[in-house]
């Protein structure tokens, strides 16, 4: 039940059209009730007033007739008087056109003299329906009519009715009260019919209004739905999609504006991607063009370097410097090429299932000379068994080497901890130093190309400035993560997490990322 309710509410919340139809139905329902109520009230009171005027007119004539009959009769004995009185009631009962009225001629109480005349009363009238307060009012009145609406029991049903009373002076007998009781059932029937018609009309009108508003809102919502679908397609990269634009109304003007916006977006995106492509091709071309002269320089440099022992000290030192810088230049060119391969999406990776411990061990051995010159101890915490993972081991070796070189360079000679761990689906390597650390501002830029934590810092390991950018691409190539966490003055942790097999989503890294209170870098 609750689910059904939630489902219904969900549809209501999602469908603009349904919401507007519902609002229209509720509002027009309220208006119909108000109008219907007013109509029914004014028809009812109109009917009542008209009938009342008619009743009062008839009653007045009846009272005058009766009074005249009594006054003119000259009856003096009780028998003739009784006969006269008994004839008055049937006369009054039949003497009108549209409805039967009931009559009662009652003697006012509290008069002197014992009169044994019977009060004539219509057979269908129970005198108890005549309220006592009306009788009091009649006795207090002098000549004019007094009336009151009453509820009239007829054949076990309560009919609306009206009773009109007046004083009549009967010769010999004294003061009598004449009551005329009218049945208003026919008016009530008319009113019931009118009200029934109004309710029926309303019940028919509300679904009709609903249908009309459904149709109208449908006409308005449809272009909006189309626009939403087209926007979705545009967002998905289908930049050539447009809205159909016909006519001059506000919807077409929306379509035109929308299309113009899409047009300008497409132009901008095309332009940007063209520029970016040009830039990437430029970097790639330059890098490739540099390779041939680079080869010549390298070979010639080596020839010179190898014969440095025969040179004078100045030339010899120059040869050594030249050799050093050629190597640096070469690694920069290599990184540039690798970066441009990633930019161009032209990376060939060779995936193999291998032991991560072995790759990490090789990487540590590779940076051993650097660690020794910086007198830095590298501590290892790795599982005893093999940690098998499907990877391009050349790239992962490069990533770990790069992280180690960075840690040694920024670790201020304090020990560096390398950890390896695995869980069901993923493996991780983390490299933690206890060196200078980074500020949060520096953390944001650590994966940027050619960014350096401290430009003035003396560079000893000769990094190219592209190392972490390439490492990040390497991690992404494996469907993994490369994350950083660091606190200024305490140290830095880099953590590489890889899925055990290609295509697996990494959900949770098996290793912690630095200390809990260290800020984390955000990858963009």
């Amino acid at each position: 039940m609750r689910r059904l309710f939630r489902w219904g509410f969900g549809i209501f919340r999602r469908s603009l059209q349904l919401r507007y139809v519902a609002i229209t139905i509720v509002l027009s329902g309220i208006a119909l009730i108000a109008v219907g109520g007013f109509l029914s009230y004014s028809i009812g009171s109109g009917l009542y007033t008209t009938r009342q005027q008619q009743i009062l007119g008839e009653s007045e004539r009846a009272v005058i007739d009766v009074q005249n009959t009594f006054s003119a009769s000259g009856a003096a004995d009780e028998v003739s008087l009784q006969t006269l009185m008994n004839s008055v009631v049937p006369d009054l009962e039949s003497n009108i056109s549209n409805s039967n009225r009931r009559v009662a001629l009652l003697r006012s109480p509290g008069q002197s003299g014992a009169i044994s005349l019977q009060s004539p009363i219509s057979s269908s009238l129970d005198p108890a329906v005549i309220p006592d307060d009306l009788r009091t009012a009649v006795r207090a009145s002098t000549g004019h009519l007094v009336y009151r609406p009453i509820s009239l029991p007829v054949d076990g049903q309560e009919h609306p009715g009206m009773v009109v009373g007046a004083q009549v002076q009967v010769p010999v007998a004294g003061a009598y009260e004449l009551y005329l009781v009218y049945d208003l059932q026919s008016e009530q029937t008319t009113l019931d019919f009118v009200q029934g018609t109004l309710v029926f009309g309303g019940l028919v009108l509300i679904p009709l209004i609903g249908a009309v508003s459904l149709f109208v809102t449908g006409r308005i919502v449809r272009p909006v739905k189309v626009a939403a679908a087209v926007s979705e397609e545009l967002a998905d990269g289908n930049l050539t999609r447009r809205l159909p634009q016909t006519g001059e109304d506000v919807i077409s003007s929306l379509a035109r504006s929308f299309n113009r916006m899409a047009e300008s977006m497409q132009t901008q995106i095309d332009e940007l991607s063209r520029l970016s492509e040009m830039q990437q091709r430029f970097v790639s071309d330059v890098s490739h063009e540099l390779r041939t002269p680079m080869t010549t320089i390298k070979l010639a440099g080596e020839l010179i370097f190898n014969s440095r022992e025969t040179m004078d000290p100045t030339a010899k030192r120059s040869a050594e410097l030249l050799q050093n810088q050629i190597e640096r230049f070469e690694s920069l060119l290599g990184d540039l090429l690798e970066m441009s391969r990633y930019d161009a999406g032209a990376v060939n990776a060779e995936f193999d299932v291998q032991d991560l411990n072995g790759v990490v061990g090789m990487a540590i051995a590779g940076v051993e000379p650097l660690a020794q010159t910086r007198e830095t101890e590298v501590q290892i915490e790795i599982p005893s068994g093999p940690v098998e993972v499907e990877m391009d081991s050349r790239r992962i070796d490069r990533v770990v080497r790069n992280l180690l070189a960075n840690a040694i360079e920024h670790g201020e000679g304090k020990p560096i901890v390398v950890r390896v761990a695995q869980n069901n689906s993923s493996v991780a390597v983390s490299v933690t130093d206890s060196g200078v650390g980074m500020t949060e501002e520096q953390l944001e830029h650590v994966f940027d190309r050619f960014w350096r934590a401290d430009p003035s810092r003396k560079r000893t390991s000769g990094g190219t400035g592209l190392g972490l950018a390439i490492s990040l691409e390497d991690a992404h190539l494996h469907g993994g993560w490369l994350e950083v966490s660091s606190k200024s003055g305490e140290g830095t942790t880099f953590r590489l997490t890889l899925p055990k097999r290609r295509g697996i989503m990494v959900a949770l890294s098996p290793l912690a990322l630095g200390e809990p209170d260290w800020p984390r870098g955000v990858q963009r």
Binding site: T292, P293, K298, L303
Partner: protein
């Protein structure tokens, strides 16, 4: 005996530097600067090895390599500026034995040349004849015969077959073969092995699609002899 190397490279400076370096190492060197003169020089001089840049004018290195392979199995080492591109595969497919990518250094180039000029692969039988399936290998004569028919293999293909045939029960990984046949002592491009095994099969197998002599062991590498023959 001085080995003769034909250096085909259109960049004059690089060509001269390479020639200087090779000469210093005791090789005899001839330099060519385009494809046409390379083909002429090859016919006239019959060098022991060709160092062939792929991106040379008229005709390019790929065409030159294909042309030479029509008549000769001379070791060809390609020089490429784009190791990741299709160039490498194209070059290997037309019969280049190995490649170096720019920028290479002296020891790299010398190692590649030395490996290609070496007589026999590491660890292979030094003499005598070997039988593998229907083939007979004459180790000293560098000859392979099927019955009486002499098959024409390049020295590299011969070395590849010889390495596999020397230990018929052993499965060689691609890395093993790269080390023994190509002389790489570190992880190298396994495409070299794949392409040359295909080329070898097309020469020695009855049906290269269903090889019986050099068989693939999935996920590991290659070995000589079919799995069925092994069980018998």
């Amino acid at each position: 005996m001085t080995r003769h190397i034909l250096v085909v490279e259109d960049d004059r400076s690089l060509s001269e530097t390479v020639c200087l370096m090779l000469t210093a190492q005791g090789y005899r060197v001839t330099a060519c600067y385009n494809g046409l003169s390379a083909l002429e020089a090859f016919k006239k001089l019959s060098p022991d090895l060709i160092l062939l840049d792929i991106q040379i004018p008229e005709p390019n290195g790929i065409e030159v390599c294909r042309e030479i392979r029509q008549t000769s199995g001379v070791p060809i080492v390609m020089v490429t500026a784009k190791s990741e591109s299709e160039d490498v595969i194209a070059g290997l497919n037309v019969g280049a034995d190995d490649y170096v990518s720019k920028p290479f250094n002296q020891s790299e180039l010398l190692a590649r040349i030395a490996a290609r000029l070496r007589d026999k692969p590491e660890g292979a039988a030094a003499s005598g004849t070997l039988t593998i399936g229907p083939l007979t290998l004459d180790v000293e004569g560098h000859e392979v015969r099927r019955g009486t028919e002499r098959l024409s293999l390049t020295p590299l293909e011969f070395n590849l077959l010889l390495t596999l045939a020397s230990q018929p029960s052993k499965v060689f990984s691609r890395e093993d073969l790269l080390e023994k046949v190509w002389g790489y002592h570190y992880k190298a491009d396994t495409r070299l092995v794949n392409v040359h095994v295909q080329r070898l099969r097309s020469k020695i197998e009855d049906d290269p699609e269903d090889p019986q002599i050099v068989t693939t062991i999935r996920g590991i590498g290659y070995r000589a002899g079919s799995p069925a023959a092994d069980q018998a």
